[in-house]
Amino acid sequence: MDTVEQIREAILNAVPGATVEIIPSTPAAQQPALLVDREHLLAAAKYLKEEARYQFDYCSCVTGVDYLKVGQVEVVYHLYSVALRHGPVVLKVRAPRELDKCHVPSLTPVWRGCEFQEREAFDLYGIKFDSHPDLRRILMWDEFVDHPMRKDYVAPLDYEWEPTPHDETLDRAVVAQGIIPPSAREELEKAKKK
């Protein structure tokens, strides 16, 4: 199989205008990832699937990751080829973590196997997948409001009575658990400076 650098070059040639960045993994794992911009992800994925040299026909694993400090969420796709028996190639895409801007293109039209896993990432991380055929919650129940795997999620005091903390319920949970929410933290720091 080609190295990640070669695959990067091939994507850049096949998808004009795309930006592809290489992100290293741990030194031992040796699975460097390709970070593709949101606009060109779908085209890059289609290219990797259809190009005769690569034929990544099997999308094994879709993961949402929340990077709170950077202010971004990331979706990671692990691609393998059943036909040529190579892989993995790791595709990554990033989006801002504010809920209204947090959307990436869905790869379900390319690989059906992404369907449930993207629904899971939507459910637990609030990442919206554009043009996903059936984007609903899958593990949490439909009435649930928040996205529980986000790093700033505050668990309620009692799931039986307050399944989703927001507004007053959230304030109570924050106080009871001794957690300072990000908004209050800024105010506290301002007060300290004064």
Partner: protein, 381 residues
């Protein structure tokens, strides 16, 4: 005047309505708390949506709040039939990220316990599937009788029958004794006879053939595209076994074949599992014969204060249900996973449930689900 309940169409056909039926979550044939929203036209399935999450406990978030080591017992609870392979998947991923080399004896031990797990899973799945077909008890209890012998071995090895918590980063927790190896040899020696009995009862059984053949067909292209893995993909003719492809552990050195199906129906899924058990016995014969002496865990791996350098990685094993993988991210500090994602095979194998069920009768939905082989602890996590 009494209104007729249905209009008679000019052609003589009765005009009918579709009806939505919720199968589950409390239904014995759904293997746990799993629900299928089915739209039926008479007895025929027109649409079907799987609904899951009743057993969701956010396994991933639990693991992100504790050390790398502490999440091993939690993986036992994912797929409670196959705790050994679940342990292996996590350990393999962590070893991959940290670059740990596993001693030879530990690799052999891991193969022994994993192949025994595969045998017990497959025999139980066949039992459960036939239970769904209406063969009440007999095949299942035959399978459970054999499973008991393997569980006894696991109990003497790890202290627990199902929640084994047996593997550690860089090896296994306790060593296999000679007596246990003899016990395993005895199980392996007797198992083919059980399989022969089982097959004599089932493989050419008229009822089984009538109910299973040409039911729930999954085409090969769809199986690959929908990320179906494990025996279910191989029943559809996808030649993809991670033991052969990745050659993790010592599988590259072992001699075994990968059985494939031709049609991709329920019967193929049954028969591929029977053949896989025979291949597992072949593997077990080799490893039980060749297991070397030596350390059973890498001595340089610290149990306490175990850290992983910054970065991410994905490791996977061929579990009895399919590809079980863990995607792990380690950040500064490295004592706890920043992100811990489990790729559950039975969750993703449900993607094509609707495609397989369309056009079949309600009674077939039950065996199609049985042939997918799900465990809700893993589907919902």
């Amino acid at each position: 005047m009494i209104q007729p309940l249905t209009d008679i169409k000019p052609s003589g056909m009765i005009e009918t309505q579709t009806i939505e039926v919720s199968i589950g979550p409390q239904h014995p044939s759904t293997h746990g708390v799993f629900r299928m929203d089915a739209v039926l036209d008479g007895e025929t399935v027109v649409a079907l949506k799987p609904v899951m999450g009743y057993l969701h406990r956010n396994h991933e978030q639990l693991a992100e709040k504790m050390s790398w080591l502490a999440s091993i017992p939690y993986t036992d609870r994912l797929d409670y039939f196959n705790s050994m392979t679940n342990n292996w998947a996590l350990c393999l991923s962590v070893e991959k990220l940290a670059g740990i080399k596993v001693p030879e004896r530990a690799e052999y031990t891991r193969v022994i316990v994993s192949e025994l797990t595969r045998i017990l899973n497959h025999s139980c799945v066949i039992g459960f599937m036939l239970q769904d077909l209406g063969a009440w008890g007999t095949p299942l209890l035959y399978a459970f009788r054999e499973r008991e012998k393997i569980l006894d071995l696991f109990e003497s090895l790890s202290g627990a029958r199902m929640m084994c918590n047996y593997m550690r980063f860089g090896g296994v927790r306790v060593d296999l004794t000679e007596a246990m190896i003899d016990q395993a040899k005895a199980i392996v020696a007797k198992f083919p006879r059980f399989l022969d009995d089982f097959e004599q009862l089932l493989t050419n059984n008229e009822v089984l053939l009538a109910r299973c053949q040409k039911v729930g067909i999954l085409p090969k292209e769809l199986a690959i595209n929908a990320s179906i893995s494990g025996p279910m993909a191989r029943a559809s003719g996808v030649d993809y076994d991670i033991r052969k492809v990745d050659k993790y552990g010592i599988y590259g050195r072992l001699d075994f074949r990968v059985p494939l199906g031709e049609v991709g129906d329920v019967y193929d899924r049954y028969y591929v599992r029977v053949l896989e058990m025979r291949e597992s016995l072949k593997i077990l014969n080799q490893v039980l014969r060749d297991i070397p002496a030596g350390p059973f865990i890498a001595p340089e791996v610290k149990l306490r204060n175990f850290k992983i350098p910054v970065g991410d990685g994905y490791g996977r094993v061929e579990g009895p249900k399919g590809e079980l993988g863990f995607y792990l991210v380690s950040d500064e500090g490295g004592k706890m996973p920043y992100r811990y994602h489990c790729r559950p095979p039975s969750f993703i194998n449900l993607t094509t449930l609707e495609d397989m069920c369309l056009g079949h009768k309600v009674a077939d939905v039950v065996i199609i689900l049985g042939s997918v082989d799900i465990v809700l602890g893993e589907v919902d996590r």
